[in-house]
């Protein structure tokens, strides 16, 4: 775990350049990446809805503020999550933070790589650092979430304060 975390801090430094190749992204004032096409919760989780499955993780802004993630507590596949409720926790060097589910549904897959390599959340928050895949039980919940522009604005406001 340890060595991989050192790798993750290097990846962190390279983060901006590695995402430049994407066509759709916006860089907020706080220099965190926010991807177009995803939905965001104000508690800093993202959702990517593709077909019947929605993938959930935490945002670049969130991982940047947490610092190196050293442990991720995730539920088992087959359990259910509900909109706005905690489904797990991320541990950084200094703090424990709850992760809230932006939507309700049944967990169909858990990213087991995170138990060995929690630093993926830092190095690749939107790709390799995904946390759970959910079969949404109430797809209309997605509508209540923030778009990329609104979420970028939220991050910027947080930085100002």
């Amino acid at each position: 775990m340890a060595l991989r975390m050192w790798a993750s801090s290097t990846a962190n430094a390279l983060r901006v350049s590695s995402t430049v190749s994407r066509t759709n992204f916006s860089l907020s004032r706080c220099f965190s990446t926010v991807l177009e096409g995803l939905k965001y919760a104000s508690s800093h989780e993202w959702v990517k809805h593709e077909g019947s499955v929605a993938t959930i993780g935490i945002t670049d802004h969130a991982q940047d503020h947490l610092g190196e993630v050293v442990f991720v507590d995730l539920p088992d596949s087959g359990t259910s999550v509900s909109h706005g409720s905690s489904f797990g926790a991320v541990e950084s060097v200094k703090a424990t933070s709850d992760i809230n589910s932006p939507i309700s549904g049944e967990i169909v897959e858990v990213n087991t790589k995170l138990s060995e390599t929690p630093g993926l959340i830092n190095s690749s928050p939107y790709e390799d650092g995904w946390m759970i895949k959910v079969k949404p039980s109430n797809p209309s919940e997605l509508e209540s979430l923030l778009g990329a522009k609104e979420y970028t604005k939220l991050c910027d406001e947080e930085e100002i304060h």
């Binding site: 442990f71 703090a95 424990t96 947080e158 100002i160």
Partner: protein
């Protein structure tokens, strides 16, 4: 320390929790404005310090480096901390030593002039009011540094006892060093870098020793001590010279000594097995339970004469019922208030500090267990979010100390 991502974001972007954001709008937060600033505040901000409220002060929790990198760099090269929020205090007068010995467990009379020790201010029940580094400058001048968060209560406690002591004819007075700032310079490069800025020979100054000397042209109080387990110094410098000194120390190290915030400071002291008052020691904890019996001088054990001595001396004789010990553990890092169980699932105590060790790359923690479960190698369970994880009682410090001793 537990909160959603949102709260964490808030704390790190120096917002205080506010029930009603609308009334405050986006103007300067009233509660932020009330926070005290050290003379290095602007310097911290310019250097990327993430300022957070701490014990009534706005202090950097980290700079641009991560807490992990900062912690490791302190042990490989060095760290410079602004600890001006801590309260420096001089007690003067011919009866200073007998006065102070009523309040602390240290053998102050037995200290050689120019040396100091970690000590504990006790209450009538033998509990800890605060921990402090006490230095005997001369037989009628004691220099102390107490915790920022305990300043008001410590000063009230000392003042109350001073009044009654003076009313009986005792000669003691105090001076609170609010005209000074305090910098902690820690790590293997601390001594060589500081040596550039003073004519005094630091190789003759050992751990726990104190001198008044010129550093970078300013009259400073220098103590070879710290809160990281590394060799290093705490420098009390006139506030008007603090910024120049901080810049000079960083420049002389050619960038190797880095500004380091409270986050890494906490990791460093935890790795060094040192108590954080308020977490690992509280009003109801005795120095014996906290594993600080060594700090009670032999003469003090024989004579007593400090607040709560009856309780403390009896505990030394009979052994305390609970003891502070260290742990390694698997799973998520234990945090304060995590339950500790024996291998049968019976409650035996509670974690008081814990985290992921940046230097050891594994979980470390300290906490109190019932006597009998305190021996090194004892297997325990630590309960985190309802699940129990394996832990083992471990000797502290977790990372070997490197104090400069003869």
């Amino acid at each position: 320390m537990r909160g959603g991502l949102w709260q964490l974001g808030q704390s790190i972007t120096r917002r205080l929790a506010q029930a009603d954001k609308k009334t405050i709008g986006r103007r300067c937060f009233a509660s932020d404005a009330d926070l005290k600033k050290t003379v290095l505040y602007d310097f911290h901000v310019v250097n990327g310090g993430k300022m957070v409220p701490f014990a009534g002060w706005s202090m950097p929790i980290q700079y641009k480096d991560s807490i992990m990198d900062s912690t490791v760099n302190c042990r490989e090269n060095g760290s410079l901390f602004d600890v001006s929020h801590m309260c420096g205090l001089s007690l003067k007068g011919k009866d200073t030593i007998p006065f102070l010995e009523k309040l602390v467990i240290a053998d102050v009379a037995g200290l050689a002039p120019g040396t100091g020790s970690l000590t504990v201010f006790t209450n009538e029940k033998g509990g800890a009011i605060d921990d402090s580094v006490v230095t005997k400058v001369t037989n009628d001048h004691i220099y102390l540094v107490v915790n920022a968060g305990c300043r008001d209560k410590d000063l009230a406690h000392i003042e109350e006892h001073m009044k009654s002591f003076k009313s009986k004819g005792g000669d003691v007075s105090w001076h609170i060093h609010d005209e000074r700032s305090l910098l902690a310079l820690q790590g293997p490069l601390a001594a060589p870098v500081l040596q550039y800025l003073t004519k005094d020979d630091l190789s003759k100054m050992y751990f726990g020793e104190f001198r008044v000397l010129d550093i970078n042209g300013a009259p400073c109080f220098l103590t070879r001590t710290g809160y990281t387990g590394e060799d290093g110094f705490e420098i009390s410098v006139p506030s008007e010279n603090a910024l120049d000194l901080a810049k000079a120390l960083l420049e002389k190290s050619e960038g190797k000594i880095r500004l380091t915030g409270l986050g890494a400071r906490d990791s460093l002291r935890l790795e060094a097995g040192l108590c954080l008052y308020g977490n690992d020691m509280e009003q109801h904890t005795t120095p014996v339970e906290a594993g600080l019996t060594w700090a009670i001088g032999k003469r003090r054990r024989a004579e007593g004469g400090f607040l709560g001595a009856e309780v403390i001396l009896k505990q030394i004789e009979e052994g305390p019922k609970i003891r502070r010990v260290g742990f390694f553990s698997s799973g998520p890092p234990p945090r304060s208030h995590s339950e500790i169980q024996d291998s049968n699932g019976q409650n035996i105590g509670e974690i008081t500090s814990g985290g992921f060790s940046p230097c050891l790359k594994k979980n470390i923690a300290m906490g109190y267990v019932k006597t009998g479960n305190h021996k090194t190698g004892t297997n325990v369970k630590i309960v985190i979010r309802g699940k129990s994880y394996d832990g083992v009682v471990t000797k502290m410090p977790f990372v070997p100390s490197k104090y400069y001793k003869p």
